[in-house]
Amino acid sequence: MSEILIKNAYVIDPISGVNGETMDIAIRDGRIVEDVGGGAEVIDARGALTLPGGIDSHTHICGTKVNFGRYMSPEDMRAGRTARHGYMHATSGYSVPTTYGNSYRYSRMGYTTLLEGAMAPLEARHTHEEFLYTPLQDTMANALFDGNWSILEAIRDGDTKRVAAIIGWFLTAVKGFAVKLTNPGGTEAWGWGKDVTCIHNPVPNFEVSPSEIITAVVKANEMLRLPHSVHLHCNNLGKPGNYTCTMGTLGLIPDLNKKRQTLYATHVQFHSYGGSGWSDFCSKSEPVANVVNMRPQIVIDMGQVMFGKTTTMTADGPMEFNLYRLHHDKWSNHDVELETGSGIIPVLYRRKNLVNAVMWAIGLELGLLVKDPWQCIMATDNPNGAPFVRYPEVIALLMSKKYRDEEFATVHPDTESRVPLPAIEREMDWYEIAVMTRAAQAKALGIVDIGKGHLGVGAEADVAIYPVRADEVDPAVDYRKVIEAFGKTEYTIKRGRVVSRRGECLVDGNNTTIWVKPKISEEYNMANDPDFIAKFDRYYTVRMSNYPVQDEYLKRNLCIETEAEL
């Protein structure tokens, strides 16, 4: 039995309804409890800001695509190199760090749970292997279904139950956590070097449109009663004028779930562009935020861009090729048979580049214009908008108009005529930041019930203590202190153990992989479906029996079983 008592913590815990109370937190055997005995290890927080452990609900940290980003970027690896010391292994890399680099840096920022945003089912084993070397955070993965042939065929045939059954089989087989659609239909079209232009544009050879894919998969997701909603990367990412497509997409979504949103739209910054080309490129954050404000069934994440070098990587193959044609730097692409695609290119976002400056503004505008912080999550689509180590700056920008104005003064002078940002006065408070960096993530992912994202009795003892007195510092003025505090915790506690102290990681760690298993009736069990099996055998290059991720790849893990309506 191990016990910790955190004394004098200035706690903000939105899910438990705590907003700035100085209190003690008792921990026993990895869980928050009412109280502990006299022998407990005492941590005196001295009034420092204490939050539930941070959760990133959309990041790219593990798997084939991420590793290819590393593989092709020895120049990126030259930054951020540290030697092995204590319990910490060597690390390398800035925008695509090694697994240990990711884990240590997230831990030092108080993050304890991470969702890998895009896992190709065929290559799921790879993601799970890397999870094992991401020791200080619990991990889970979105499985990609945007171009899955068997699903496209079931949608074409109007058989939503079959769609759900297939998703259930794949999710269970690959130990995935949620359903991801990346440029639905577009990744299949990219198999021919083509793309879909918007939600009503048909997918070649499959007679379905993105809107049909989205609506069917959203319904199927709810039939499976999955903890998370469909996680959508809309069509047309990064193209001027794409906001109409984004609004059309959000308009498709009914309100089907009482506990959480029905759709999680990711990195919406990249989907809120106006203009007919790059010359009249402008922000359309206002109409997009308005749609979100009117539709409680939608949750978005910002996809904030920060100036500097990074690596972009997504399952959206055609988008990356377009980006390559703009930048003419190196380009990687990796199509995955029967399922999805992916692309990678390095980019440099420059302040003095008008398009980049507008992108930077749009992310912040979404954060500030979406009224309810539970509906807009802070993220950079790491590393696409910026590496996650830039989160403290994003937080400070949301909290300080002064900081925004100072930054705005350094960007391309024409930015002002393209974006509403300078006129937005809103400054977020500590509570709203706590929502946008952990509580909203836990709720959106549907993991509050398993003890994530809050500090109520029974919760997982994942705690971040930041070296800042939230009751004394005015974040709107002292934004430097905000950046410093969120950059390095005083303590990061994971499952009741201090894993990181002032930036130094103290244990080797042993994370938990969270995955879902919908319970499906025999009638809808795809493992017995002759057509599914026949097509699998004929078109995949891996045998169906070798396809599922074996138990050997899950060391510590938590399976969430759901009662599917099938």
Partner: protein, 256 residues
Amino acid sequence: MMRVSLAVRPRKKPTIPIEAETITPASFLEGAEIQVWRGNRELPLDEVFAVTIEGAADRPEDVEIVLSGDTSRMKRVGEYMDAGRIVIDGDIGMHCGNFMSGGVIEIGGNADGWLGREMQGGTIICRGNAADYCAAGYRGGRKGMTGGTVEIFGNAGDFAAENLAGGTVIIHGNAGDMAGVELHDGTLIIKGDCRRPCGNMSGGVCVIYGIAYDMLPTFRKMGTEIRDGREFLSFTGDIANRGKGNLIVKDCTYQD
């Protein structure tokens, strides 16, 4: 003026490389103990060299370092050097003058690979031969050398001035295969012969006073020009790559 003499002491395992990026004029000014690495062991400088320091200086410009003995396995000497002078009597190991931005390195013998990698300024003179990747870039990087001068009096190995993006590289002898490959900007001058120069060149200038063997077929002949009283052929390319580089050769052969 400070003169630092470093004479290599006999070594039990003479082929294990020594990494000595600490040997720069600036580090001798600081007076701190200088460490070098033999494989995975860190050693004080005087365990590897007999160190003699004469005179004093208060700026790196006034420091001269002279290395003598078998320095062929000393890597990274003069890395990040910004001023002063390093004289190497004999051969020098890999990565001499990496990232150098100022000052002079003079090598009496041969230089091993990656001489002046990603150099930004200053001068490197090598009296002997330079091995592969002389004045080149790093793996995966877009830019190699961006400024300064590298002058080789002997021959250069393969991939000399790869990714050259600024500055001047002069090779008095022959260069190996693919000199000036991916050349972006700057000037490469080869007094002798070479093979397959300037593949994928996008800009900059390369002049070859000898024969360019196996010229690539994707350079467009623009005419002739007179240099030092002799007629040269002038090409632009690489047209495989939308290139606008200027390749000038005395004579050439093709792989037809």
